[in-house]
């Protein structure tokens, strides 16, 4: 009798342990990056209102995000990815394709309530010491056109396009390439997502109009249409820091 009771206890305890460990759930997260200009999807070569009668279009919009992680309600960090290239000039080539986000999927994310997402625009100092030949061809960090030898830095973000004024009849090409460690910035955005044996979408929208905001006005592209100058990082820092307000998370 005593042995039966002990046996039953052991079996029950074992079952309880197995049940509790087997109930540890995981889910998946999709990070979906969308490009907009104000309220409209951003489409390459489409014109949008800028300032003072100027219209702006984009022919290039791409940037690295790095060290992407979530933070749960307990303050624990879940790393998602080291480096990804967000390449809107490859994706947003038509109005139809601009409706489809650039997505990255991350399975096996521990169930929790996640309260924030953090990512950096650009590459951290350690990664920025590497060079394209350190990577295999499928890695975007192997692309030589995304590395600037004279700066000894990757190009963190590239924005290019044209400023057109129908009244003035001119068409000014503009270009902003950011890079160097001084321009690296990290942003944390609030989140309200629960993972529990499900698939969760985190939609990250980047408003390209906001990227060029300077106070209550916008960057004077007409006066200074290009910046690829390590001695003059101010415009590049402005664009990068504007990710704090240009990004909407849903």
């Amino acid at each position: 009798m005593k042995n039966t009771t002990l046996f039953t206890f052991i079996i029950s305890l074992t079952s309880l342990i197995l049940l509790s460990t087997g109930c540890k759930k995981e889910g998946s997260i999709n990070l979906n990056f969308n490009a907009v200009y104000g309220d409209e999807p951003l489409v390459m070569l489409e014109s949008y209102p800028y300032t003072d009668g100027d219209e702006i279009n984009f022919t290039v919009s791409d940037f690295f995000v790095s060290n992407v992680y979530l933070t749960d309600s307990d303050g624990s960090r879940v790393d998602l990815t080291d480096v990804e290239l967000i390449d809107f000039d490859a994706q947003n080539v038509t109005a139809a394709m601009a409706q489809t986000p650039i997505s990255f999927s991350f399975p096996s994310i521990e169930s929790a309530d996640y309260e924030s997402i953090t990512f950096s625009v650009g590459l951290d100092a350690e990664t920025n010491l590497t060079r394209p030949e350190d990577y295999t061809p499928e890695n975007p960090l192997s692309e030589n056109t995304r590395y600037w030898g004279p700066w000894e830095s990757y190009i963190f973000a590239r924005f290019q396009g044209n400023l057109i004024n129908p009244d003035l009849g001119d068409d000014i090409g503009w270009l902003f390439h950011t890079g160097k460690d001084d321009v690296f910035r990290t942003f944390t955005y609030p989140l309200d997502k629960s993972i529990d044996d499900n698939v969760v979408d985190i939609n990250i929208e980047i408003d390209h109009q906001e990227l060029f905001k300077v106070g209550d006005d916008y960057m004077d592209i007409r006066s200074k249409p290009t910046n690829h100058n390590p001695q003059d990082l101010e415009p590049l820092i402005i664009i990068t820091e504007n990710f704090s307000t240009a990004v909407t998370i849903d």
Binding site: L45, V93, N144, T145, G149, P150, G161, G173, T226, Q231
Partner: protein
């Protein structure tokens, strides 16, 4: 029970000689491929071969024979080397290549120098990604070889030498197993070892520290790379011609043709592949290694000299909605333009890393 017994019988052995055209058994030929390891040049990306087509001595040898053999063209008058000559950094010195019927191709022959390191689109419009895919196309192109792979494979099967080379490279058992895919793989292996640049003055200055730039070469180099000095003039070249191959990873419209809406473009370039407006008139920025040997220049060979090329870029090019924003009037002086050319000459290296292996074996 009878069904089970039947199903346990071995299938009757089929003799391929009874149904394979041009059949010849090759199993008495030794198949023992030897791996070929490339000793990479400094600062070059790793040379990656596809998992199903690793470099072997025998594969390269077969590819070398095929590359220089006119057997792949319909009338056996042209080989790959007809448009890709080692004496001209594997180009042909023509604005547009000429096919076996004397007709011009649409575009200029691109250099195959260091082509194995080009992982982001082959041809001027990037319509294929791998060398294995690329090698299939010229054979059946109506202007180039104007042949069919059916005929080309048949010619290879009855040849006195090629069946043995295919056996040694890929371990086929009989001539019926010679395919266009294996031929393309062999050519791709050969192309992957067309490597040059280590003996250029540029490499000796930058990597070996055994030579120094002249003042004018240095000035040309500074113009080429945009060193970030706002007070200094820049030619912006390395925005597109970057890395140690001085080549583009992407496609760009460099303002060759004036257009308001792309409707008048003769050659759509990348846009002809994707169909997207943003890609119209965009082309690959080719390697500038040995550029002094690979004229005429641009996808249609419109510029006979580097002087014309630099004058084009200095002018800012022609208007186009998607013209790259780095293409704008540069304000270069005559000395600046000369310096750029003098710098580009430092990228010349007439030697090959594997000179015997890339030469004509016939």
């Amino acid at each position: 029970m009878g069904l089970i017994l039947l199903s346990c019988n071995n299938d009757p052995i089929v003799d391929p000689s009874e149904f394979v055209e041009n059949y010849r058994d090759l199993t008495e030929v030794e198949y023992s491929p030897t791996a070929f390891v490339v000793d990479n040049l400094p600062e070059f990306l790793p040379l990656i071969s596809p998992a199903d087509n690793p470099l072997t001595v025998q594969g390269i040898n077969l590819g070398r024979h095929l590359f220089y053999d006119p057997i792949l063209s319909a009338d056996s008058t042209m080989s790959c080397s007809s448009c890709h000559s080692p004496e001209l950094a594997f180009t042909d010195g023509l604005a547009k290549s000429i096919g076996i019927d004397g007709l011009p191709t649409q575009r200029s022959s691109m250099s195959l120098l260091n082509i194995g390191y080009n992982y982001r689109g082959l041809f001027w419009d990037g319509r294929v990604t791998t060398l294995e895919e690329q090698a299939l196309l010229p054979i059946e192109d109506e202007i180039e070889f104007h042949n069919t792979w059916t005929k080309a494979v048949s010619d290879l099967q009855v040849h006195s030498v090629y069946p043995t080379l295919f056996r040694e490279a890929f371990g086929i058992d009989h001539t019926g197993e010679i395919t266009k895919e294996l031929a393309a793989k062999a050519i791709a292996q050969f192309e992957r070892i067309i490597i040059s640049g280590g003996n250029s003055k540029f490499n000796k200055v930058i990597f070996d520290n055994t030579l120094a730039f002249t003042d004018q070469e240095r000035h040309g180099f500074d113009l080429f790379v945009d060193d970030g000095d706002e007070d200094a003039l820049d030619a912006e070249c390395s925005h597109c011609h970057s890395g140690q191959l001085f080549m583009g990873d992407e496609f760009a419209n460099n303002g060759l043709d004036s257009t308001a809406d792309f409707s008048n473009l003769i050659d759509l370039g990348r846009g002809g592949v994707t169909g997207y407006n943003v890609d119209m008139g965009k082309f690959k920025a080719p390697t500038l290694r040995n550029i002094t040997l690979t004229g005429p220049y641009m996808h249609d060979g419109r510029f006979a000299s580097l002087d014309e090329v630099i004058d084009h870029y200095n002018s800012g090019g022609a208007p186009s909605p998607n013209k790259d924003q780095n293409i704008r009037p540069l304000g270069l002086s005559e000395y600046d333009k000369e310096s750029l050319i003098v710098f580009l000459q430092t990228l010349t290296d007439t030697t090959y890393k594997y000179p015997e292996l890339v030469s004509n074996p016939h």
